[in-house]
Symmetry: C2
Subunit: 194 residues, 2 copies
């Protein structure tokens, strides 16, 4: 690959990273291409050249995928813990993750809310649902997402004191069984391997 192409890719990456930071801090509507360019230390014209519009930049900046392969627990009875531990760790390690940007934007922009619905459904609910057996597969997968979302947002984003101050292992000890209950087929058998 030529040096010019590599440099272009680095610039593109830098802009995406800057966009995540700006969208996460200011929300979708208050974010500007000018602010993103400044955060990326490049020209406004470069941002437009690579991404065209704020909307397109936003769609790419908040692109994320749950890789269930990475999260497969050796013991299916610990799958709930694996999912929840991973989601909480993601937020702890990467405070400006795409999810925060998207969530903030979704609160006040219907375009962003629709994008959030599409991404969460395709990126996490569909893959988890595909691993479930028994009745209510879609709703169970959606509730797994909702439960993990609630715990993660309140602990890591809103930082409600009782949750934020608790030891991660205590949170998992009490909350992972809830996720596991949704994963398990009624009458107790854990869902088979991924």
């Amino acid at each position: 690959m030529s040096q010019t192409v590599r440099k272009g890719e680095r610039t593109r990456s830098r802009i995406l990273e800057a966009a995540r930071v700006v969208f996460a801090r200011h929300g979708y509507e208050r974010a500007t291409i000018r602010a993103i360019a400044a955060e990326a230390d490049c020209d406004k014209s470069s941002v437009i050249q690579y991404f065209g519009t704020k909307q397109q930049l936003f769609r790419e900046a908040v692109d994320w995928q749950v890789d269930l392969g990475e999260l497969a627990a050796e013991d299916p009875r610990r799958q709930g813990e694996s999912y929840l531990r991973s989601m909480l760790a993601d937020f702890t390690d990467h405070p400006d993750v795409p999810m925060i940007a998207l969530l903030r934007a979704a609160m006040t922009s219907e375009d962003a809310a629709q994008l959030l619905r599409e991404k969460v459904t395709a990126g996490s609910i569909d893959p988890v649902a595909a691993t479930l057996e028994g009745p209510d597969v879609r709703l169970r997968a959606a509730l797994i997402g909702a439960v993990m979302f609630g715990v993660t947002v309140q602990r890591e984003l809103l930082r409600l004191p009782d949750l934020a101050a608790a030891d991660l292992e205590d949170v998992l000890r009490l909350a992972a069984p809830l996720v596991q209950q949704l994963l398990d087929t009624p009458h107790g058998a854990p869902t088979g391997d991924l």
Copy 2:
């Protein structure tokens, strides 16, 4: 009570209701006293007269309290269902509830986030914790809040399709047991009466 006093209270109420609508739609920082006055169909000077500052108006507008007395289930084994049903119904019935305004604002304003922490802790976590027995009372109460928050926000606010399209009774059938599990003292005995 004199007519003047009653009229003053009605105006004050109308302003608070208008504030909830404007804060819920625009978030804390983008909301203006001018917009709230317009929504309340009164003068900007009236808003300032009754509340002083946007910050004070915000604090009063998002004031809400969980009244656990209303939510006590006759059968303690159905307490989880009672809590969750009530929270979901609140959002369905009152789409501009104070919680939405506060949550949106908390995403981009640290002042609003701190207010949210105080209100949720005092208004719902403290009262629920007071009803629990056994270990981890604070964390269990906080997780009850987080689980219900996740389900409610994703179903009623973000309207993720699988959750929003599901019948309420199906959501409760699958999610109420999770709340109940946190309410129940380990080893299965439901928490005593409220």
